[in-house]
Each structure stands twice: as structure tokens, then as C-alpha cells.
């Protein structure tokens, strides 16, 4: 294990969950492909940071960082795809034409609006957490040398990312860089809480809407289907007298 990539206590507790994820082929592929999306999106966001920072050194470092992240995305994507090819019969259950889960690595950060010190602190904390987690993942894929090698390579880069973000933070905010890191940790925790809360709200919302769907909708569904049967196919004339009020949303 890299001496700089410490595993967070929470991740130690969650070790059985991580093992459950990585021991299953489908979940492993899904995870790798999801990482590919997250790393690529994160890379694009850091690229954006390189484009907007006024600091020449940071621009070069962000650019390096972005290139690394985009490369990690490619590594994960290629490995996920290679694994998929070995078990092509599972494709249908895995994908079914549905877009993969993914998202912007830094999507809750508006890069243009963040000063460099806040972005550096955020990146430092995020990279450190990712390095800790990737260390666990690397150890859990011992049966798969190629995937393990990818984690090894990425971990080396993560150490560079952790270091440069911290040293540069110390350079741009020499008096308060430690405070900035703590602040980033607190912000990360808060965002994690918000994500969990939003997830719970989404589940509750889905449940309520599903109940409404089955209780309230059947008569309207019957009427909608009756109306559909009366609809002509082909051209529908557009009435010149149709309500075309400029201010109407209908």
C-alpha cells in the first residue's frame, strides 16, 4: 500500500460491502464502467479549472491532473469493456439499453465560481479519499491482475494529485491552508449528507408516486386509451384557429 494512501475508518467498516461488490462479475464491470464516467467527467471539470485559473503554474498542474483523470477514465472503460466481452451473454441483464449510472466527478462544484484555494482544498480531500478507497479496491481484485494493475497505476497518480494540491494550496494560502482543508472536509461531509437525504427523498417520492399511479390513474388511463383509439394516424391538420396565445404554456 502506498504510504500516503490511508484507508478511511468508514471504508474499513464498509469492507464487507466493498468485497460484496468486487466479488461479483456483473457488479465489478458496472463499477468499472461507472468509474470510467466519473473519472472522465472529473477530468473535464479539472480541465475547466485549468482554463479559468489566472495562475500559470496551477494551469499547468491542473492540465496534468486532467490528462491523468481522462486517462484513468479510458483505463476503466477499456477494462470494463474487456471484461464484458468475456461474458457477452450477460450484456442484456447488465445494460438493456439503459444509460449507465455516472455523473460529473465534481458536479456539485461550479468550477468557474470557485477560487483556486477552495478548489485545491476540495481536490486534495477528494483525491485522498479516492486513493484510500482505490487501495481497498486494489486489494480486493487480487484474482484479476489486470484490474489490479490499473488500480496500481491510478494510485501512483493519485499520490501526485494529493501532493500537488496540498503544496499548491500551501503556496496560494500560506496562512490558512490547513483551515481550507478542514473546511473542504466539512463541505464534503455536508454534501454527502445532502446526497443521502436527496436519495431518501427520491425513494419516498417514487413510493408516493407509484402508489398514486395505481390508485388514482386507472380511470384516467382507461379514458386515455379510449381516446387513443379514436385518434387518426397519419397527418393531423393544424387548425388556423387553434389557441395560439403568445403567453400561454398550453
Amino acid at each position: 500500500m502506498s504510504p500516503l494512501a490511508r484507508v478511511a475508518p468508514l471504508d474499513r467498516i464498509l469492507l464487507p460491502v466493498h468485497r460484496w461488490v468486487w466479488n461479483d462479475f456483473d457488479r465489478r464491470v458496472r463499477k468499472l464502467l461507472a468509474f470510467a464516467e466519473v473519472e472522465s467527467d472529473g477530468g473535464r471539470d479539472i480541465l475547466r479549472a485549468a482554463e479559468v485559473t489566472p495562475d500559470a503554474l496551477l494551469r499547468r498542474l491542473y492540465l496534468e491532473h486532467a490528462i491523468d483523470e481522462l486517462h484513468h477514465g479510458d483505463l476503466f472503460r477499456q477494462r470494463g469493456a474487456a471484461l464484458l466481452r468475456t461474458r457477452s451473454t450477460r450484456l442484456r441483464t447488465l445494460f438493456n439499453g439503459t444509460p449507465l449510472p455516472g455523473g460529473h466527478g465534481l458536479d456539485d462544484l461550479s468550477i468557474q465560481d470557485e477560487p483556486d484555494h477552495r478548489l485545491l482544498a476540495f481536490l486534495h480531500v477528494a483525491e485522498k479519499a479516492a486513493a484510500g478507497r482505490f487501495t481497498i479496491y486494489r486489494d480486493l481484485v487480487d484474482d484479476d491482475p489486470q484490474t489490479r494493475a490499473i488500480f496500481e497505476e491510478i494510485l501512483r497518480d493519485e499520490v501526485f494529485h494529493m501532493n500537488y494540491t496540498y503544496t499548491q494550496l500551501a503556496r496560494v494560502m500560506p496562512r490558512s491552508y490547513r483551515w481550507q482543508v478542514w473546511r473542504a472536509r466539512a463541505s464534503r461531509l455536508w454534501k454527502r449528507y445532502l446526497r443521502v437525504a436527496a436519495g431518501i427523498a427520491s425513494v419516498v417520492g417514487n413510493a408516493v408516486l407509484t402508489i398514486m399511479y395505481f390508485i388514482l390513474l386507472p380511470p384516467f388511463a382507461w379514458m386515455a386509451r379510449r381516446a387513443e383509439r379514436r385518434e387518426p394516424v397519419g397527418w393531423t391538420p393544424i387548425s388556423r384557429t387553434r389557441d395560439d396565445s403568445p403567453t400561454g404554456q398550453y
Binding site: 469493456a81 486534495h124 501532493n163 500537488y164 503544496t167 500551501a170 408516486l209 393531423t236 404554456q249
Partner: protein, 602 residues
């Protein structure tokens, strides 16, 4: 009178500003946010437009949203009801998706801009497409055809428009085909089936089609039947997009065409599966073309007009456009540079200005360059800070230098003036290269664009030389103005234009008038003097998965990450130095980290 047009919330949001009936600027949100096909409310685009025109939101006379959001919600709800109970999984997400933001367009606009609610107007989605196609075209009377995936209910409309001598404008949409019957959705379904991204990669299907044979048109014909009135209807059993957002094709579709492509597998045309996918693409392309040609031909016979304006996302299909021009009977076909939903921002503003507000007709400048200007000084500063070779040259010397570089097989990142509005790079944000060899095509695909081998590159040629190298039908040069048509490369030139000649001998060319992009035109002539052929390979200045660059620094970061040799912005030219490498920088930082490693941060 100042009118702001907005398109948002589905894909490719944008804003456009009209002052006294003439567009003064327009930009897609993705070009500013740097998220490809950004569908978010275009706050940055609006802000840029207002700043560009030195306006405050309070100065606006009207803000026009490009569709009627409640009517769209009605369609989504109705489709969920019709699919009951199969729609139970998708219903909660559809409701959350719509009710979360999309149906509250008036409130969102009002809260973002602080404009009174009575200044916020709405057009129908296809009215916006129609206005974007007709009111930006240099014609006074034309038939209008719009086709896309779906707007509110309409998926395809036909009509006509007239700009009268007295200044009044008429746009009359006569009839429509309604959801779920949609040519755009048919094509998008195949896009998904072939493992590409819906609403984004449809052009890949068109590119792949050239590698296949339309042997499956019979099967595609089972999905779409022609109705006695000359329209069409999709057979719902083969589709699921009308009932769920998670998959667009049904199991019956898969039974008909075989297993779908794994998006992560490359398309290998040497394998049976690869050929099957190419044949699928060729077949749906053929059916799309045939259907559009029939509809356009009937519209020509009905209206007796010589011009057709074609808008909507389907109008991005250059192969179909060329066939419409050749076979429908229309003499001229106008496709705007942004026929998709982004262009609806311009269309909605124009529609409201001419039709709702009754303002007199004005000619709209016939070019696509409505976005932010490039700042060459920004590029020079950044490149010098990074120890790159930077030189600044007068215009004529710059053209000669770049032509020399191109003749030496170097790849140029070319930024000039205002960015294009729409998905095509039309000479202001382009990657340019010599068009002569397969090696150049492969190099661009491998080292610069990082994309599939089967995708072709487009050429740009001075309009006066276009006919020498390409077989342009009457009206073809106009269609090629914004790269909207695919035409054959003349057989005698194919070997010398190998990098831009597709497998079927065609090319999606841009025929460039000097007035539209004078510097690029001069560059083509200078390159022609060196190579004997005034044609360049012109591909959009972006990498895979990224929007086209807008600012100089975005061009510069792209230049640093790929195999572009030379970057040009206005009078500034940057050559890539082989000695500027990442590793020393990493080592430096690792060394710095030693002094802080014990400080507890890491």
C-alpha cells in the same frame, strides 16, 4: 425592440438575442459551461448575450421560450396513462423530471431574469424550428418542413412561409404528424440499438450507413408503415420509447434485428455482427431518406414553390438533405446552421418578433458566427507562460505560414473571430489538415479526435472551386454553405482527397464564400497554390466527448492534450514544442511535497 429567445431543458440549450428584428448574438450553453449538450437552463448563455449587447434584463421587450412546456407535460402524462400499467416504473421519474423544473418555464425565466411574467412568451416547438429555418434563409416564399424526435406533440410538420413586400411575415403550418409516430425517434431508436448515445450520436449512424448495404429495409419497413394520406405511422410493438425512458426498442425489435451492439465494443466490419450493424444503419438511413423525399415531393406538388426550408434535428442528416434536393422537385433547400433544438432559441425569438409582435420583416445575416470572439492575447499570454513557441504575424504572413504548415502535413487548430452557432465547425473553430491521404485521416482519428475509424472527415473548399472537386447538383452549393449536404467527390479526385472521401465516395463538404470567412478563404487559396488543390480537411475543434472550443484558452488546453501541431488565433501562432513535457513538472511537485509531507495535510 429587444427580444431574447431561449431553448432549454431537453438537450442543447441556448440563448439568442434579437435587436430590432435582427439577431445580434446566439450561443449554446455547452460552449460556455463546457458540458457537452448541456440541457440546463442557459443562464450563462443569456448572461453572455445580454453583456454582448450591453443590455440589462429590464431592457428586454420580450423573452420567448421555444416550446409550450405544459403542452409537453400533457403529452408525457398522456403517454404514461396510455401505457398503464406498463409505465409504472417510468412514471415516478417522468413526473419528478417534469414537475421538478421543466413545466415551470415561466417561473424559472422570471426568477432568473427578473422580468415581468407578461413579457414571457411561448411558441410551439415546431413553430420555433420553422421560424429558424425560414426566417434565416435568403428567400421570400418557401415551403417549410420540420422534423425531429418530438416537440410538444408534433414530430413532423409541413407548411409554408412568406415574407411580404409590406413587411408582414406569415408562417403557416398546415399539418403535423404526432407522437409516437416520429422519424426522429425511429432513427434514435436505431442509434441506441447500435450502441450510440441518443440525441448525440445520430450522425455516427449516418457515417456507419455508408459501410453497409440496405439489405434490411424490409425489416425496417415492418416498423414504419405508410398511411394512405402520404404520412407514416410507426408500429408501436417494436418500440418502448413511448412508455419508458430506459429503452427505446422492444424485445420484438431485437427479435427482428438480432442482439443490440454493446456500446463498449468497437464496430469491426470484418465480423458478421459488424456488417449486420452497418446494414442496419444503411437500411434505416434508406427508409428515412425515402420517407422524407416522399413527404417533400408531395409538399412541392402541393405548394408549387421552388424553395424548401428544412428545420429540426432530422435536418442534420446531410445524406437525406442531398436526396431531398435532388429528388423532391424543390430547386433550393435551406437548412440553417443550427437546425436542432439550440437553433430554436433563434427561431422562437424571430417567430415572436415577426408573428406575435408584428414587427416588420428584416433580412437576417446569412452566416453562423453569432458567439463569443476569440481573444488572441489570452492565447499568447498562456502559451508564453508555458514556454511554447509563440509568434505574432500580420494577416497575409499568417496565411502563408499556416499554408506552409499544412503543406508540411501539420495539423492546425484554427480559431478566428466569433464562434459558430450550431453543431458544425464552419471555419471559426476548426481543426484543419491536408486532405490527401488515408494516413492523415487515421492520424486525426487516432491522435487528435480519439474516435471511431469509420467516421469520415469533412472538407472545406472555396465555393468557386467546389464544382471542380465535387459533384454538386443545382442548389448543392447553397446546401453546402453550412455543411448540410453530402455529395459525391468527383471520381478523378478521390485518390488525392482520400482523407475526406468517405467509403462510398461522398463527402459532407462546406462550400465557402469569401465574405463568410475571409481568412479561411484566403488560407484555402494559399494552400491551393502549394498543393494544387484548394481543399482542406475541416473538423470541429474539440476532442471526443467535449463541446467545440469557444475561448482561446479552451483551444490551448485542447492543443496541449492532443496531436495538434500548431494553434492559431487571430494574429497569434503557437507551435508545439517537443521539449515541453509533463514529467519534469511532476517531479518538481513531488520535490516540493517533500517539504510539506510531514505537515499533516497529506
Amino acid at each position: 425592440m429587444k427580444v431574447l429567445g431561449i431553448s432549454a431543458h431537453y438537450h442543447d440549450s441556448a440563448a439568442a438575442l434579437l435587436v430590432d428584428g435582427v439577431p445580434v448574438c446566439a450561443v449554446q450553453e455547452e460552449r460556455l459551461s463546457r458540458h457537452k449538450n448541456d440541457a440546463a437552463f442557459p443562464a450563462a448563455a443569456i448572461e453572455w448575450c445580454l453583456n454582448h449587447a450591453a443590455l440589462e434584463p429590464a431592457d428586454l421587450d420580450a423573452v420567448v421560450f421555444y416550446e409550450r412546456s405544459m403542452l409537453k407535460f400533457e403529452r408525457i402524462l398522456t403517454c404514461a396513462l396510455r401505457a398503464f400499467p406498463r409505465s409504472w416504473r417510468s412514471f415516478p421519474n417522468a413526473m419528478k423530471n417534469s414537475l421538478g423544473e421543466k413545466v415551470w418555464a415561466r417561473g424559472i425565466i422570471s426568477s432568473h431574469l427578473g422580468v415581468p411574467r407578461d413579457k414571457i412568451l411561448f411558441t410551439q416547438h415546431h413553430e420555433s424550428h420553422a421560424a429558424a429555418a425560414f426566417l434565416t434563409a435568403p428567400t421570400r416564399r418557401a415551403a417549410i418542413l420540420t422534423a425531429d424526435g418530438v416537440g410538444e406533440w408534433a414530430t413532423l410538420t409541413v407548411g409554408h412561409g412568406e415574407r411580404r413586400r409590406d413587411g408582414r411575415t406569415d408562417i403557416t403550418l398546415l399539418r403535423e404528424i404526432r407522437f409516437p409516430h416520429s422519424l426522429g425517434m425511429l432513427y434514435s431508436t436505431f442509434t441506441a440499438y447500435l450502441g450510440f448515445a441518443v440525441n448525440e450520436d445520430e450522425y455516427k449512424v449516418m457515417g456507419l450507413a455508408a459501410y453497409g448495404r440496405p439489405t434490411l429495409t424490409g425489416q425496417v419497413g415492418k416498423l414504419i408503415r405508410r398511411t394512405p394520406d402520404g404520412a407514416f405511422a410507426l408500429v408501436p410493438e417494436y418500440f418502448e420509447y413511448q412508455t419508458t425512458a430506459s429503452r427505446s426498442y422492444s424485445s420484438r425489435f431485437v427479435e427482428l434485428f438480432g442482439p443490440p451492439r454493446n456500446p463498449y465494443d468497437p464496430i469491426d466490419l470484418e465480423t458478421a455482427d459488424g456488417r449486420r450493424f452497418a446494414d442496419c444503419a444503411a437500411s434505416v438511413q434508406r427508409v428515412l431518406e425515402d420517407t422524407l423525399v416522399d413527404i417533400a415531393r408531395a409538399l412541392h406538388q402541393e405548394t408549387g414553390l421552388s424553395d424548401l426550408c428544412f428545420g429540426g434535428g432530422v435536418a442534420l442528416n446531410g445524406v437525406a438533405n442531398a436526396r431531398i434536393l435532388a429528388e423532391s422537385g424543390f430547386e433550393r433547400l435551406f437548412v440553417p446552421p443550427a437546425p436542432g433544438d439550440a437553433g430554436c432559441a433563434v427561431g422562437a425569438a424571430l417567430y415572436a418578433d415577426r408573428i406575435y409582435l408584428g414587427n416588420p420583416d428584416r433580412d437576417v445575416p446569412d452566416h453562423p458566427f453569432w458567439g463569443p470572439e476569440v481573444d488572441a492575447k489570452e492565447l499568447a499570454r498562456a502559451a508564453r507562460e508555458d514556454d511554447q513557441d509563440v509568434i505574432e504575424l500580420e494577416d497575409a504572413a499568417m496565411i502563408e505560414r499556416v499554408a506552409d504548415e499544412l503543406a508540411a502535413d501539420r495539423v492546425i487548430g484554427w480559431m478566428d473571430g466569433a464562434t459558430e452557432f450550431g453543431p458544425r465547425a464552419l471555419g471559426h473553430r476548426s481543426i484543419l489538415a491536408a486532405p490527401h491521404s488515408h494516413e492523415m485521416r487515421d492520424r486525426l482519428n487516432r491522435d487528435i479526435k480519439y474516435r471511431e475509424e469509420f467516421r469520415p472527415f469533412a472538407p472545406v473548399v472555396p465555393i468557386e472551386a467546389a464544382d471542380t472537386y465535387f459533384e454538386l447538383p443545382p442548389g448543392g452549393a447553397r446546401l453546402a454553405r453550412f455543411m448540410s449536404g453530402v455529395f459525391p467527390v468527383r471520381p478523378e479526385w478521390r485518390a488525392r482527397l482520400a482523407a475526406i472521401t468517405h467509403i462510398d465516395g461522398s463527402a459532407r463538404l462546406q462550400a465557402l464564400e469569401r465574405e463568410m470567412a475571409p481568412r479561411l478563404h484566403a488560407l484555402l487559396e494559399a494552400y491551393g497554390r502549394r498543393s494544387g488543390i484548394p481543399v482542406l480537411l475541416n473538423t470541429s475543434f474539440n476532442l471526443s466527448g467535449e463541446p467545440i472550443v469557444t475561448r482561446a484558452l479552451e483551444g490551448y488546453s485542447t492543443f496541449r492534450r492532443c496531436g495538434i501541431d500548431v494553434l492559431v488565433a487571430g494574429p497569434t501562432l503557437v507551435s508545439k514544442r517537443a521539449t515541453v513535457r509533463a514529467r519534469p513538472l511532476k517531479e518538481d511537485v513531488a520535490w516540493w511535497s517533500g517539504s510539506l509531507a510531514g505537515s499533516g495535510g497529506v
